[in-house]
Symmetry: C2
Subunit: 309 residues, 2 copies
């Protein structure tokens, strides 16, 4: 298995199961590509995703080109709009308005971070909620809270799919979410508590001000960690039989790697894995699910439009 140490596979306990994000994402991609083929065969419009990138941040460019490549893989149309870092806020907002009105484009994203002279909140709020396939617009977050049709943002949605498609039961379980970020921790805490499956958990949201972090984490049946600190979760923070979802990806210097760094999750995988019933590896866990979530949302944008017709 690429990028995932082999010795783990031979060491796994009797009941531990890897939540394989690559395999689940591949399955999902196949389903999406099949739907696109059906749309095409019926003479319909294939999904069209546009991505706007401002400036030349290397990581952002990689993310965006991965998204464009996935579009091609699934039969989507895509448009990449690369703007110089000197782009003014007004110019970017004008581009957003243009994409809002462009009926060829079903959904679009503006890659963050944006240059310092541009107000990210303003840009997010300028995107039409119907086209906000990143699910970052306040109206879409509110609709998620209310259980109304919406776009759930990539990481939370990817985690829900990973749980759903691997048969992880959640109802009545204690789910502890570590980290209260706007794009992962907070929405995840709401989604896991709603009346649905996955969902129906008793949910505890913990963060930097939590007094007894070890104790709370160790009480979790399902532990979702999105705090951005490499190997933060140690074995004493995990209950025997817990489900552990690791959202972190921190680059840690490592001379032995070709790129000079290793990718580390928020969980000390080697120390924790044998206690778990399910665990996501890093890389190859939550990561591969996020791009496919964006594609799901873009397909949904087309389906919603067709429904309205």
């Amino acid at each position: 298995m690429r990028g995932f140490p082999l010795e783990v596979e031979s060491n796994i306990g009797d009941f531990m199961q890897i939540l394989d994000g690559r395999a689940t994402a591949a399955q999902l991609k196949k389903e999406i590509a099949d739907k696109v083929k059906k749309i095409q065969a019926a003479g319909g419009k294939v999904p069209h995703l546009a991505a706007v990138i401002v400036g030349d941040d290397g990581a952002s460019q990689t993310y965006v080109s991965n998204k464009v490549r996935t579009c091609e893989e699934l039969g989507f149309e895509s448009t990449l709009i690369a703007l110089p870092s000197s782009t003014s806020e007004a110019e970017l907002l004008a581009k957003v308005h243009e994409l809002n009105e462009n009926t060829e484009v079903d959904g679009f994203i503006v890659q963050v971070p944006l240059p310092d002279h541009i107000d990210e909140d303003k840009v997010t709020e300028a995107i039409k909620p119907e086209k906000d396939v990143d699910g970052f617009h306040p109206e879409n977050l509110g609709r998620m809270m209310l259980g109304l049709p919406t776009y759930i943002s990539a990481t939370p949605n990817g985690i829900l799919e990973l749980l759903r498609r691997n048969g992880v039961k959640t109802t009545g379980k204690h789910c502890v979410v570590v980290g209260r970020s706007n794009i992962v921790g907070t929405p995840m805490s709401i989604l896991m508590s709603r009346n649905a499956e996955p969902g129906n958990c008793t949910v505890t949201l913990v963060h930097s001000r939590t007094a007894n972090m070890q104790e709370v984490c160790a009480s979790a049946d399902i532990l979702i960690v999105a705090i951005g600190k490499a190997e933060f979760v140690s074995a004493d923070m995990v209950k025997e039989g817990a489900v552990v979802i690791d959202v972190g990806t921190t680059r840690v210097p490592d001379e032995s790697k070709p790129k000079g760094f290793a990718l580390k999750g928020d969980v000390d995988f080697e120390a924790v894995k044998d206690k778990c019933s399910f665990i996501t590896p890093v890389p190859g866990g939550v990561g591969p699910m996020t791009i496919v979530s964006l594609m799901q949302n873009t397909l949904r944008a087309v389906e919603r439009k067709n429904k309205k017709k």
Copy 2:
């Protein structure tokens, strides 16, 4: 103290303190009325709240007339729009659009519940977020999640004010919220976890699917109960020294009362009070804070408009 049994006052423990919603609301009202006087003295526009009521539900009529009366008390302008229960959804939406465009009206509410033939979500979403002083529009809920300027709905906002103005410390505490409703439990859980004071709690949201309700509640430093079941919280569910906030108001038949019923909270007040550091009574706790929260939001609508000028 009106409406609040005297024997409680003589029985309170050394450290127990009543969170007196009536007194706190009276103080807040005074502050708001003073601000309105200042606006008026400076030749500004006083806040104007409009309330729409459809049909002749007795409880709704009482709520709305209390809101109008509070407007008068505070020097606000108010408009009451009473529509027959035969009003169609289209007619109500037309009224909402009219109020959205009416520059005299700073904020307005549509009293719920609405007749069955009207889609409440549709009506809520038709209200301009800037005028949605109830804070029920998805965009305002999303803005609350993101920590952006918004209107926080009446009950959660009233609870925050009650905690703030009575010096209840929350940072690092374990707050358990009982009930996951869209208008109280879920937003309250987010507000108590955000990076603010009140806030910065480790928050656990529990509900009908929670397995070990007694145990979780008994671990709370701050227990907020909004489940709508009279006297649901018994003494064994409350930790010594806890802060207890009771959002429930259930009418329980009681022949000895002039109205034939007694108002009961979600907490068995008599059984629990001596264990608490702070507790809200019912009535006279959270209830009086809600109308004044609506007034705060309406005043804020005017202040936001003036800021934009």
